[in-house]
Symmetry: C2
Subunit: 215 residues, 2 copies
Amino acid sequence: MTIRVLIADDQQLVRTGFQMILDAQPDMEVVAAVADGAEAVSEARRLRPDVCLLDIRMPKLDGLEVTRALAGPGVENPLRVVIVTTFDLDEYVYGALRHGATGFLLKDSGPTLLIEAVRAAAAGDALVSPSVTVRLLQHLARPKQAALPVNDPLTDRELDVVRLVAKGCTNQEVAAELFVSLSTVKTHLGSIFTKLGARNRVEIAAWAWESGVVS
Amino acid sequence: MTIRVLIADDQQLVRTGFQMILDAQPDMEVVAAVADGAEAVSEARRLRPDVCLLDIRMPKLDGLEVTRALAGPGVENPLRVVIVTTFDLDEYVYGALRHGATGFLLKDSGPTLLIEAVRAAAAGDALVSPSVTVRLLQHLARPKQAALPVNDPLTDRELDVVRLVAKGCTNQEVAAELFVSLSTVKTHLGSIFTKLGARNRVEIAAWAWESGVVS
DNA sequence: CTAAGGATCGGCCGTTCGGCCGAGGCGGAA
DNA sequence: TTCCGCCTCGGCCGAACGGCCGATCCTTAG
């Protein structure tokens, strides 16, 4: 069961290099190597490779557009797409992943990771370049430290109120949920307003989402 | 400049296997191989290796606790920690990353990825197992498809209102921001309430966060 | 013991919100 | 042209919100 790969990159040398690396693997076969995005879409639809390696910067259609066409939301039989690029800008990463990419490699990653990325994509997994991953992880870990400067930490009870408010509960519903009176809820809310510097309950809800108090 | 590695795993065979793989690399050296979490912390603090490979399941202290002690928030000179485990449960992944881990490997990943993970960690990057990464990416990409069933799509202008409301703006502020009257804002809000089935503006804000309209 | 902070309650008051009616302009589709 | 959807605007009104004052109980720290 060989893994059939399509390569799309506007640079001849890159295409050849990738092809040599992958064809040297006994279980991989490059079935197409194209130079622009439009060609990538048509060839990918015709050949239906197991994995598509796409550059970001390409003529006619860039890699993100091609990804959306081949693997984006709403595509019936999405292909596995790995973005391979020189640029590690965050906008590209998030754009690619939102458009359906299952991998993101930088061209300085070395042949080992390229092979592993193809193998992972063929298996339905996703390999992301370590230098990119570290920033993705920072994004994941960020919400746990305070998003806004909160000098005064909220008490447990206040956090209960915040969570319910962020869900859209009225003060009356919060009171019923916590088995306390409406007055108590309003008192807690007053403390919350002061501590967070919020001006209305929506700002409290926004803080809750940003800080990871609710998910 | 060799990469000095500490291995912590309660299984003798795993420790030996990892050590053989890593010692076979010319630029890597295993400086310690311990069997429980407490030993891992003390040895890591004494030897200060470049990379720590930690199992989740360990006696005395589990891998997450060790990670927090060595690389967690608030640690002055955090060490690079890569979690290596058999279990790919989400709770472990997120727990590890929140506690400061810079890598997450499954034991079925093959020696190639182990080596790459150590190399990445030593460079300050992070390599995560492809089968785990694919779920992390789903978490990132999930918000963009509709979170709640929205039969009636919002118009562009209504989305403008939603975004400002979700930021905590009052109706008056929304009106000023969009250069329309207060009445217009309230009319738009009425349509939004109907379309989303929301009962108050906080539910609109919550929908905005969940659906990715705001980030 | 005393002080401090958290959780619990109450009342008063002005502002904002949200629902419900109405209206007109404007562009595209039938 | 005639419709229809979208954006624009106005008034009215009850309910909810948010600020401000007060108070009691309890636990923990000093």
